[in-house]
């Protein structure tokens, strides 16, 4: 018995005995039994089962309703699931029970190429990227790059079809350890690094990139709806884009 008393968490050091009596009188014992049963149950319990377990004469339905009301404002609610009763984490606290797990991913070759073209040739439209790459760019590639947070929609080109223009973000600079976009190596440096070898055709050039946030003369601002339209799965994308953009 002493062991049992020890087990009980000390409610409040002062006058706990007298206290306990008062409160237990105020709250019917069946609510204690009910909450213990529902807490420990490994599956939702129906009223018949609860009635069977509780002492005779308990109005199970009334007790359930009282308990439900008591727990309604709490972090754990008493809910009815398919006619049975169970404690569940309050709906608005679902976020507490999810944990972000970082999943390392590598960019595909196509995505790397597209990213590089956006970096060097920004502001650049999808059609222009395709022109440079010589192959069409799948929507998925652009979506992945948007997900990385390394590219961003800059505006729209003042041209027929008003295509969206892409540029790099600050997160891009941060990830690749660049102080500014002009730190991207130019033609001579690429050659020096052995990345561009052999005879290059005359007139071959590598642009001097600029990620100036101000729109160019041939660009116009995005409209409010543009962000939603252009992107892939909305919820996830916005979240991860937000993470990337958070750096700015």
């Amino acid at each position: 018995m002493t062991a049992l008393a020890e087990q009980r968490p000390a409610p409040a050091d002062d006058a706990s005995d007298e206290e306990g009596v008062v409160r237990q009188e105020a709250r019917p014992e069946e609510l204690r039994l009910l909450e213990a049963l529902l807490f420990a149950a490994s599956e939702p319990l129906d009223e018949a089962k609860l009635k069977e377990r509780l002492p005779e004469g308990v109005d199970v339905r009334a007790a359930l309703r009282a308990l439900q009301a008591e727990y309604a404002p709490r972090g754990v609610n008493l809910v009815r699931v398919a006619g049975k009763w169970a404690f569940r984490t309050a709906n608005d606290l679902a976020w507490l029970l999810s944990k972000d797990v970082v999943e390392p991913k590598k960019l595909s070759r196509a995505a790397l190429e597209t990213l590089a073209i956006i970096a060097y040739h920004q502001p650049v439209t999808r059609a222009e990227i395709e022109e440079i790459r010589g192959v069409s760019t799948s929507k998925g590639t652009i979506d992945v790059l948007l997900e990385t947070g390394w590219i961003r929609l800059r505006g729209r080109r003042k041209a027929p079809g008003r295509p969206v223009t892409f540029g790099t973000s600050e997160a891009f600079l941060a990830h690749f350890g660049l102080d500014s976009i002009s730190d991207l190596p130019g033609l001579e440096e690429l050659k020096g690094a052995g990345l561009l070898e052999g005879g290059l055709p005359p007139g071959f050039s590598v642009p001097a990139p600029s990620d100036d946030p101000g729109l160019r003369e041939d660009e116009e601002p995005l409209e409010p709806g543009d962000l939603d339209l252009t992107l892939g799965p909305p919820a996830e994308r916005i979240e991860s884009a937000g993470e990337g953009a958070g750096e700015e």
Binding site: A40, A41, S98, V101, E103, P104, L115, E130, P160, S240
Partner: protein, 277 residues
């Protein structure tokens, strides 16, 4: 012989308190120390005041009885019996001067200590098992809600990856472009298309919308627009169509020229390209 897993009941049945050492069931004991403790309990005194001498006698009597019944005794019971017989003799014969090793009294004390310690740990084991236990007396949540992991991709690429992708891509594309024939929309082609398209449009329509089908290929875009615009101007000059644009870079609208020279019905006079010419 040590019979560790023997139920406790067997031991209790073995030695009724009133008939010590007469019923011999060595199977019930967990070793000589357990037997000694059981015998000691029969002295019904505090273990601190126990008579080791009396205890040794009882133990030896128990072993003697077991032997008479031809029970097989584990070696450790016999070792204990020999040790107790030695202790008994040392206790009975007064010590003469300095002797080697611990004194008989120390040995007796040590034995009493071990008995007390065994008894105490048994009491502790009982107290422990008397506690409320998880899953028997008190319970954890029956339906825990596990934390779900939300995968968040973390992209990685090195600057080297990026640059080498760019360099090799540019080289590849260049090699291809050099041999590709230049794609051009001739003025004649543009005019033929426009005549067909505008011919059906009575109202203002956007030029670029007319041409959407022809600019799917990115490389064609510039030439399509350039040739079409030139063709438009030519057709305006010839009086076949009208064209207007609200401001620079605004969409260009075209429509078939109405046969009469009446002003346009939509209230505002469009700036016509024809006037500009």
């Amino acid at each position: 012989m040590t019979a560790e897993d023997q139920p406790f009941e067997a031991q209790q049945a073995a030695v009724p308190a009133d008939e010590p050492a007469l019923i011999v069931d060595v199977e019930g004991f967990e070793g000589p120390l357990d037997l000694l403790l059981t015998l000691a309990r029969q002295q019904k005194v505090d273990l601190t005041k126990i008579s080791i001498l009396a205890l040794a006698d009882q133990y030896l009597a128990f072993i003697e009885a077991a032997r008479k019944l031809h029970l097989e005794l584990a070696a450790d019971y016999l070792v204990m019996a020999a040790w107790l017989a030695y202790l008994k003799s040392r206790l009975l014969i007064p010590t003469t001067g300095e002797s080697e090793g611990p004194s008989a009294a120390d040995m007796a004390t040590a034995l009493a200590f071990r008995l007390r310690r065994l008894e105490a740990i048994r009491a502790a084991a009982e107290a422990l098992t008397a506690r409320p236990q998880l899953g028997r007396d008190f319970f954890a949540r029956g339906m825990p809600e596990p934390v779900t992991a939300v995968k968040r991709p973390e992209w990685s690429a090195t600057l080297y990856d990026l640059l080498s992708a760019y360099a090799s891509q540019r080289r590849k594309a260049l090699a291809r472009v050099r041999f590709a024939p230049r794609t051009v929309w001739s003025l004649a082609e543009a005019r033929a298309v426009l005549e067909r398209l505008v011919g059906s449009a009575q109202d203002w329509s956007r030029l670029d919308e007319f041409l959407i089908a022809y600019v799917v290929e990115p490389s064609m875009r510039a030439t399509v627009f350039a040739s079409s615009f030139a063709a438009t101007l030519e057709m305006v000059r010839e009086g076949h169509i009208e064209v207007h644009q609200d401001s620079a870079f605004a969409p260009i609208y075209v429509r078939k020229r109405v046969a009469s020279d009446a002003p346009t019905g939509d209230g505002h006079a469009p700036m016509t390209a024809a006037n500009d010419q």
